[in-house]
Amino acid sequence: MDDYVTGVLTNIGLFSFLALSAYLLLIAGEMSFGQQAFFGVGAYSGGILTAIYGLPLPVAALVAMLLGSLCAFLVGLPTLRLRGLYFAMATLAAAEMARILFELFRFQRQIGGELVGPDGTQGFRGIRWVFERGVEPAGYLALVWGLLLIALVVFLLMERSRLGATLRAIGEDPDLARSCGISVERFKLGVAAAAGALAALGGVLFAHHNTYIEPRNFDIMLGVHSLAYALIGGLGTAFGPLLGVMVDLGVLEGSRVFQGYRMIAFGGLVAILLIFRPRGLLDEKVVHWLRARFS
């Protein structure tokens, strides 16, 4: 497998964490345009912990997930009081605030005669933990997909459990769920925190794959794509967002023949897809049909 294929597969794995994060909120009935902020929190905090404090990547990833979860909880406290479009706008505003904070954030230390750490708009270079440990791209790909597999198994178990049914009930009709005695607000805060942790994990892995991050990496484009992944792939199963990332990156890579115009071709394809499949390729009907056929 050459570097290009390994890189594309690694990117699919990395952005699947973000897609799953958006998907988790979508099945709870909330459309967030701000998951890229927690991806960024994970990337910056994980990078600081390995590059400046010399912590191992697994420890840094755990701390970054906790931080991502905490930030998502704090953002969720005021924003989850809002509904529909207002919630979407509030999450977008929160994510832009986070991106601007990354632009103002400077925290550099001398490491081996070199200044390392976030330097505002100049970005954060030297997140080299993976390269310094001699981890090859194929090894990192295996790590990313191994963690993604664990996340997918947790999702599938959750979806078959009472918790999954409760989340879908909240997503379908929060008032009906509330009348059944479900604490909708508490559940949604929990979902927001879990989605933040998942996005942060993706961010840590992204930063260590790239070795360099900057505030622009976490702008609105990433938020729109993360929602698009879940909506293209489908809301019927956790495999949907993964399929969405594969379609998104696959179409983008496959449309290189259009050169500079390929984003226009890509946008058109997404529009057509969503007209004919408004709840994505793997929507609830398809998943139900597949389960009935194969179980």
Binding site: D3, Y4, G7, N11, F15, P56, L57, P58, G112, E114, L115, G120, T121, Q122, G123, R125, R128, F131, E132, R133, G134, V135, N210, T211, Y212, E214, R216, N217, D219, M221, H225, D248, L249, L252, R256, Q259, G260, R262, M263, F266
Partner: protein
């Protein structure tokens, strides 16, 4: 299983980091094809040229790393020690984060920010400072 995973994590964590890091400079001239550039990468370590490296050159647009990126190409050794040549086929003019993947005497990845225009490529200046290599 859990013990093996823990052992692997601790073993990876305890490996030493490389002492001296590679540095890179880029010089690009436009080719006859739109958005295509002939580039020369100059690699050094500790102030000395770094020959014999296996270098692949790719590029991303910082604000759209997934949407606009360049398939990495292998660089060929150039005329002088530590020099490597590659052709970069970009999708548009503007700021690109050139990604150098190094193997051989050094295992690293360097990111260089350059502004590509009709005349060639210049290092990006933000807030009056050049980004470090």
């Amino acid at each position: 299983m859990a013990k093996s995973a823990l052992f692997l994590i601790l073993a990876l964590a305890s490996l030493p980091a490389s002492a001296q890091r590679a540095q890179a400079e880029l010089a690009c001239t436009p080719s006859n094809t739109d958005f295509a550039y002939h580039c020369v990468v100059r690699l050094s370590r500790g102030g000395q040229p770094l020959p014999g490296a296996d270098v692949s050159v790719g590029a991303d647009m910082p604000s759209m790393p997934m949407a606009h990126n360049v398939r990495p190409v292998k660089a060929k050794p150039g005329k002088a020690p530590g020099e490597y040549q590659a052709r970069l086929d970009l999708e548009m003019l503007g700021e690109w984060a050139v990604k150098l993947r190094l193997r051989g005497p050094v295992n690293d990845q360097l990111i260089l920010h350059y502004d590509f225009d009709e005349k060639g490529a210049r290092p990006v200046i933000r807030s009056g400072r050049l980004p470090r290599k």
